[in-house]
Symmetry: C2
Subunit: 144 residues, 2 copies
């Protein structure tokens, strides 16, 4: 597949990096807000397409990671896009319940660099939408 | 800096990977559309903050890359966010002129996986907003 075919063609040919991974930007399909950033391997991408639920690859745990398997906060896929050279995925989802971040915030991007002092951050979300301690410990209880 | 400080604190401490890079999701601040995905090193991030113009690190050329230096299509920074564990940047910009993709499209994400056949793509943008051949060759002429 040459550059023109890759960049302007109609064949989906995701380009995984040398670790077999492709970056994924997950966006709320309702308002376009970026919710999170994660990685997929070929299997995660395939499962995402097959099941319609966002599935990633956890680099720290080296396993497939169905978003929501611990928190119950699944992400239903509405559309999957790729970029010009097909080495990035953009996943447009509707979360079954708000709160895509493990810290309980709606989006992982809940802080911005301060305009006054670029070494400081300020919160741009008013607060968490769920209590991570409660959600993740409840899950641990259940799985015992 | 411990995990709580990194994830809930107010100190900006971007986490670069073992190649000294951090992924950057660039979003159109006017409508939230994802325009492109690129990488920054520490210097690119610093210049972006200092100049207010998106500056990336080109992995293929191994150099700083001021977006728009070839095409004239600068990206003016409106806000710079980071994610929970500060290892991803989200840059909210207003492009000086439409067309953030080197292929002439408004966004690099101009194709989506087809719902009928997941091996196929379909275009979601109606067409390029500029002619790359014209823009990049004009630039080459100028720099001769």
């Amino acid at each position: 597949m040459n550059e023109d075919e890759l960049e302007l063609g109609l064949r989906f040919a995701p380009q995984f990096n040398d670790q077999g991974l492709i970056p994924c930007i997950t966006v709320d399909d309702r308002d376009g807000d970026v919710l999170m950033f994660a990685w997929m391997n070929r299997e995660a991408l395939q499962r995402t397409l097959e099941t319609g639920r966002a599935t990633y690859f956890s680099r720290s745990r080296q396993t497939l990671w169905v978003k929501g398997e611990s928190s119950g906060r699944w992400q239903e896929v509405r559309r999957l896009l790729t970029d010009c050279d097909q080495d990035v995925i953009q996943l447009r989802v509707v979360p079954q319940e708000e709160g895509s971040c493990h810290r309980g915030y709606r989006s992982c991007f809940y802080r911005a660099v301060s305009e006054e002092d670029p070494q400081q951050l300020e919160f741009v979300e008013s607060g968490p939408v769920f209590d991570p301690d409660e959600v993740y410990s409840a899950q641990k209880q259940k799985s015992k």
